[in-house]
Symmetry: C2
Subunit: 332 residues, 2 copies
């Protein structure tokens, strides 16, 4: 494979793992050797990278010998078990799970926002939560313009955020419904087809879900904004791909719609799609498969002193996961 | 048909009109004579009421002779044209459109909240917006407990809110998708299957849609709360029936979760469905077809001084339209 890095992908067969391979191809990430790792269940499967077959290997503690970059997208439990041996073997780990995101010695990075934080890594950099990443792509430019204080947000999260089995579950439920037969729910606690579920992740004592607190907790760390608060309701919707978020944001300084538009239009990795009269605003179907997030429906908030309301859509498998991870590796 | 009122239903063949007939049957509304009115396109169609066929008549200015109650669910334009002749003929009109809702001399009524307002009618009472009605069913009991000041809300609105054609459009798009062919969009400006659209109703100069301002404008009038403000994002989702709303609400007085739970559990027309650990919370699929709205996901808001977050689902064809209209007639 020529000059470049020895790269391992943990959770290679999952929804994010598959995207990671495509993103590295598209961005011509310098891969000299590629090791695809997954549970023993998926071992032996062949995946394609740059037109060549690569056989998936069974993940073990000794899988990281000689690896330069290890992309983890295998959930928190696997990350807690296998990130330490990967670091010990000298790999730089970029982990997509929530396991280490809030640890003081682990940078949590969105390259368009806090690229410099990546430099202080000690062999591990965390990738942010997908909904948080999509929302911050629009909130951070507005923060720079007006000083962000707090947000009230509600999400519209695609099933691909729950992985390949959830995509299949929505497909099967829709087919069952068209055929007039009963739809089975296994991945989600209730039917997701033709329904919306106000639960993503598990519940905390406070009544918020873990997912709902990520925007505040991760947002504070990524934006270096200790006082930032975010009240979020995270909702799963029957969309295959791309998350959307409705946001009311309060700022320290008076807002101007022109300045806000300008800030969003110039923001890296973001497109301002905002011609409501022509029915042009972000939708998940439009954002799916695109590297760039989309912001629109920008308006002066009618219930806040210095506030803006907006709507953001972004492909959470890309900016919310695979793309952001590869961008982090590119920084280093 | 025995003793009772002479009732006219305008827009009888629409999604709400059909529900009106079912609600009057179920609640044994005293109908002595029934006149079903619709555009000439639907005239001649037969509909069933209490096991008898009723032929739909073409709506005209002379359709209201002898009518006691005229239920209008035919949109604002038809309401502006035909409500005046109906009132002139002596009928009491209960109008589901937004045409007269904010007029000073027209009561806007949710019987569980401001039943007494109905008494001052001059032949016309307005039925509130569906999303507003569903949200206020939970917000008003909380207002009584803590004094409501403002809300930040995002809606998840079912396609049946756009009428029978929109239900058909979602069905056709889903079928097309299962067959792998292209989905046509006619009712909505973009595909609604496997998508969400941050537009309900048309846009105002401010960037909000008309639908989004209804919660503030109608909420002030219904709750007698002039200072109430509401920043809302209204979103259409691929759900057939029942709207949901994610709400962060700020109050004048300190909140208590126990008092809030108690207020919601005792609220008329509302069920508290709130055992998140057991995956019990309102969903549109659960709320569909039910007279009672559902509230859940109640929690102390993490970004407000005196705030609560909650999630409400309700069948907008029932509480948001047909049921509320019949309840208003029952008051009189």
């Amino acid at each position: 494979m020529g000059k470049g890095y020895h790269v391992a992908v943990v959770g290679a067969t999952g929804a994010v793992g598959v995207e990671l391979l495509r993103v590295m191809e598209r961005r011509e990430f310098p891969v000299a050797a590629l090791r695809l790792l997954a549970s023993s269940r998926s071992a032996g499967r062949k995946m394609t990278f740059r037109d060549k077959d690569v056989v998936v290997e069974s993940l073990g503690e000794d899988s990281f010998e000689g690896v330069d970059f290890a992309f983890f997208s295998a959930g928190s439990e696997m990350a807690r078990q296998f990130v330490p041996p990967a670091r010990a073997a000298g790999a730089i780990v970029i982990d997509n799970s929530s396991a280490f995101r809030l640890d003081d010695d682990v940078p949590l990075v969105i390259p368009e926002i806090n690229a410099a934080d990546a430099n202080s890594h000690r062999g591990l950099i965390a990738n942010p939560n997908c909904t948080t990443a999509v929302a911050l792509m629009a909130l951070y430019p507005l923060h720079r313009a007006f000083g962000l204080r707090r947000v009230f947000a509600a999400s519209y999260q695609a099933v691909s955020g729950s992985g390949a089995r959830a995509i299949n579950e929505l497909e099967q439920q829709v087919k069952a419904s068209v055929q007039g037969i009963e739809a089975k729910a296994e991945v989600y606690p209730h039917q997701i087809a033709f329904n919306v579920l106000p639960q993503v992740d598990s519940f905390l004592e406070t009544g918020y879900t873990r997912e709902e607190m990520k925007m505040q907790n991760e947002g504070r760390k990524i934006m270096h904004l200790r006082e930032f608060s975010a009240s979020v309701t995270c909702v799963r919707v029957p969309v295959f791909r791309a998350h959307s978020v409705a946001i009311s944001a309060e700022f320290a300084r008076p807002v101007s719609l022109d300045v806000a538009c300008d800030a969003l239009a110039k923001a890296p990795g973001l497109d301002l799609v905002d011609e409501p009269g022509a029915h042009r605003y972000p939708t998940p179907l439009e954002a799916a498969g695109k590297d760039r997030c989309q912001a629109g429906r920008l308006r002066v908030d009618c219930a806040l002193e210095n506030g803006l309301s907006l709507w953001v859509s972004g492909d959470q498998l890309l900016k919310g996961a695979a793309l952001n991870a590869v961008q982090i590796a590119e920084l280093l």
